[in-house]
Point group: C2
Chain length 534, copies 2
């Protein structure tokens, strides 16, 4: 664990801090939010890979790592006529972009080996799982290589919020997000519309604006035109749904929660005018798992270009080139090239005999890596759909061991399904990951049972990951403090000799595949410009 | 056209009236909204068909119409051991639940014949197109018969709003919905938070509530903690998206619109605390078109049970049974049964020699049918995705000839696509439908071109429908005024002799397939209860 995490752990994550973060992010990741606060941006700038024109003389490139950054580098350089070798420690392409399904095996550092035994066709994206519509680079590759996409339901008004730490009648009770939104915003609109009517805005708004503003609040908050009261709205759901004939006929409306109870509950932390940029509709997932993206890129590389199960152990440079000592099945080998693109996570790279300059090494050490955990629980029945009409989306919880339970956006109305039982970060991820896989599942099940009566009885098997304990990652993603972003990071965007760093950590869209792709595009372009000079 | 439509047309639909309706409904259908105002409910009550136990003696049922109501009646009664005959005027099952694809042909009353010539695999759901997650009855059949579903993207923050009739710099400009939401709600939150801070709520809120309320507004509206100002938020989008390295690095933030400009534009009509009940996420569509639902039910009926291309011309009853005179290819035939379930739209039924009681006939006449039009435009390039990053959702417009342009929620990143060019209602539907198919397309293209520069150049072919001009429908759906709902409707829920009415019009979820299914379930149950008595 890096400085930052320790810092966060020792500062203590107060509930309010956690909720603010969780809330502000539309419920994704506390640490992603932390990253935002620390100067990480969100969104993806480049829509297409660079055009690499001309034939360089020195054209042998060794790429370290066959995650998305390494694969994109290899593909674009190969297209431009480079001779590329990719060294990958794992036996498959994609790095973090993994999908666990039957037969997938993972041994965490100092942990048990898990052999995923989901039913055929079921899987969990235990790494990246969703793609924002504006991540042009990621979507460039899905389009180019025809990876079929389906919508990822990232925001479901019908899904529950479950906060235990507040007060009042809504604490510890699953409440549908749509109810909370309708009521909190209904009351807020009522209050503001009435104040406005009473003249409270007269100093800042003309008569015409004021009239339209009240009209806006009335429509937005579903207020009664007559008296500007909020007394509920069909959009928050019915007590008895409308139907056929005269019974149920029009159904029975539901009554709103009390403002005071809502304020007590803390559930309002989950409401936002707009979701954070990278959490906004529309989001996608590849059909049959995120691994389909790297697999598709790898299929479009020449056979044998990627050397799998081959670990980088030593990197050396001379003014003329780069040599990389690797080990495969106990067999050492040395690969020589003119250039190197290194996409190994900095958490791992700093443990390797990399021979990089002291300034570079020092800068690398300033990037902290996030502890992150996920668990996929196979359920023999899709009770969330069948019993609760929740189709996809998240159940946001105020317990940071869990954070959110996510319901799958695939296999609608099927027999079984794999749901995400927790998505935890930082100290909580560290804590939960100290448990055995079975104990992690038990923790997830105990919690989920509070929300869904059929949780435990439907459970069949689990697969969990703690990325900080995964050998070739040692963390979920890189995090830069403001200070490191200002000092260390810019240095690392420059080559050290003939070696260029690429990967999600070399971007302001860290923790996203687009960060890996775009940093690869950027470094490949720079390398090419230099190679063309001779 | 029925009373109601004429009423609406002659009252004149002011722009405000239209916008209110459009806005309140999350942008669906003015007349759907009109229906709501007139006492139509929204939502769906029954999760499963009735259990029909026991063997009735008189068990021959003739079902008129093989739309969803007729099909569901036939299926459930067949399961319960009834001898069922279904009479259907069209050559295919599904009634309104049609999908236009290559080879589909439609001749409107007094209109040209359109032969749909979309490319293979492309289609438009020119009738029903989306299924709310709480329409349990519709979802019952998709699940039971394994009709694969995919998400229908009904709310896309990245999509445009396009209002021409307002004032100021935002009038006549496509503006992304997320920007409008972030800014309108940001400013509203700022105003209310500041008023609250200044003590404006002190009479109605205790100190603790006040503090939390301000905290809520700060988080919800993305206000600065320091001074409660709203100055934009990443969630509204960037001027330059964040990316790799140091350039673009963190990207460049965007500046909010002015509150006054937003109020001038009228775009705020499209913002709501929660979407209307039947427009809420999650929504579905069957893979490969809505027709897959009725086709699946029809496949599960005994061969030959549905007599296609057979028109009901006369219905007669005696104390002992029902006879239906039908015509097929000029050949008359009479079908005798113990019971009749009639799912023919009332707009059509009242033109048939039905022999029903005068009170019944009078009540039927009180149901008005909505003029509704849709057009599907095949585009040779998915410019909305490629040029604008809009993946599904709607472009809401304040021109009631158009209302909304809908981008397809299928075929993501494909070569071509069919988008919905307009969805118009009432007098506007009547007006537009008076044009030839080619002229309707021209109208849609002229309008779309104002929003998307590549609209016209990408256009290939169109298919349009005006439901009020479709022979066996004569309108999109039934509409009840408050008065008719109170007097006529209840009468029609009772059988007239041995004839039971079913169909979307016999529900409070009219204009939705669930209304058809649930009224079928209800009438089948009543018929069975009576048949069991002897
Ligand atoms: C839990 C989680 C959730 C996420 N969610 C999302 C999401 O929803 N959407 C999204 O777009 N992104 C998401 N991300 C981020 C995304 O996974 C990463 O940004 C991206 O996959 C990183 O790609 P990369 O090529 O930079 O690194 P990696 O994928 O880690 O690739 C590095 C490669 O180097 C190899 N390697 C390491 N050491 C050696 C060695 N010594 N010798 C040889 N090879 C070595 C590794 O095996 C690996 O293949 C998520 C990540 C995590 C962990
Ligand atoms: C434009 C539009 C959009 C819609 N959008 C949605 C949506 O998004 N989601 C949704 O769930 N619902 C939607 N609906 C509503 C949905 O289509 C209907 O509620 C439902 O399909 C009606 O089913 P039904 O069986 O009651 O009537 P129909 O489907 O109309 O069935 C009646 C049947 O009777 C037959 N018939 C008529 N006259 C005769 C005769 N003389 N002899 C023999 N047979 C005859 C007809 O051919 C037809 O098959 C939409 C409808 C329209 C028009």
């Amino acid at each position: 664990m890096g400085d930052l995490d320790m810092g966060m752990a020792s500062n203590g994550l107060t509930r309010r801090f956690f909720l603010e973060r969780l809330g502000r992010m539309g419920g994704t990741a506390m640490l992603l939010a932390g990253m935002d606060a620390l100067g990480f941006g969100i969104g993806s700038a480049l829509a297409a890979p660079p055009k690499l024109e001309g034939k360089p003389r020195k054209n042998r490139v060794v790429i370290l790592g066959a995650g998305n950054a390494g694969l994109a580098s290899a593909y674009e350089l190969t297209q431009a006529g480079y001779q590329v070798t990719v060294i990958e420690a794992r036996s498959f392409p994609g790095g973090r972009a993994q999908t666990a399904r039957k037969g997938f095996s993972l041994t965490e550092l100092g942990g048990a080996t898990q052999n995923c035994d989901y039913d055929d066709g079921l899987y969990i994206n235990h790494g990246p799982w969703r793609i924002p519509y504006h991540h042009h680079s990621t979507l460039h590759y899905t389009r180019k290589f025809g990876v079929p996409l389906e919508l990822f339901n990232n925001d479901n008004d019908a899904s529950f919020l479950f906060f235990e730490k507040g007060k009042g009648p809504l604490a510890g009770k699953p409440v549908r997000k749509g109810e909370v939104a309708a009521d909190m915003l209904g009351y807020s609109s009522e209050i503001l519309a009435k104040l406005s009517k009473q003249g409270a805005l007269d100093s800042q708004m003309g008569a015409e604006d004021k009239e339209r503003f009240i009209e806006f609040l009335t429509e937005f908050g579903h207020l009664s035109k007559k008296d500007l009261n909020y007394t509920g709205t069909p959009g928050r759901g019915f007590l008895v749904d409308p139907g056929a004939g005269t019974d149920p006929g029009p159904g029975k409306p539901s009554a709103p929660h009390k403002l005071n109870d809502l304020l007590d509950s803390g559930l309002w932390h989950m409401l936002h005018s707009v979701a954070e940029w990278e959490q906004q509709r529309t989001m996608f997932q590849p059909v049959q798992g995120m691994e389909q993206i790297p697999k598709a890129i790898a299929r479009h590389l020449p056979d044998g270009m990627i050397r799998y199960s081959t670990e980088v152990q030593r990197i050396r440079q001379s003014p003329k080139g780069v040599t990389v000592d690797v080990m495969r099945d106990g067999q050492p080998e040395t690969i020589a090239a003119d250039w190197c693109i290194c996409t190994i996570p900095l958490s791992v790279l700093k443990t390797i005999d990399h021979g990089l300059s002291p300034a570079f090494a020092e800068a690398m050490a300033k990037c902290a890596y996030a502890p992150v955990g996920k668990i996929g629980l196979q359920m023999k029945r899709r009770f969330w759909e069948e019993d609760h009409s929740i189709y996809g989306g998240h159940v946001f919880c105020d317990n940071p061991d869990i954070n959110n339970i996510a319901l799958p956006s695939t296999g609608w109305q099927g027999q079984k399904g794999v749901l995400l039982g927790y998505y935890n970060f930082g100290p909580n991820a560290a804590k939960v990951s100290a448990r055995s896989p079975a104990d992690r599942a038990a923790l997830a099940l105990d919690y989920g049972q509070k929300i869904f009566p059929a949780y435990k009885e439907s459970y069949e098997t689990s697969f969990s990951v703690a990325w900080h304990r995964v050998k070739y990652n040692l963390g979920g993603w890189g995090m830069w403090s403001d200070e490191a972003r200002a000092t260390a990071y810019p240095l690392l965007t420059e080559p050290d000799g003939r070696l260029y760093l690429a990967g999600e950590h070399m971007s302001y869209i860290g923790g996203w595949q687009a960060g890996a792709f775009e940093s690869a595009w950027q470094q490949v372009e720079r390398l090419h410009a230099r190679a063309m000079k001779g």
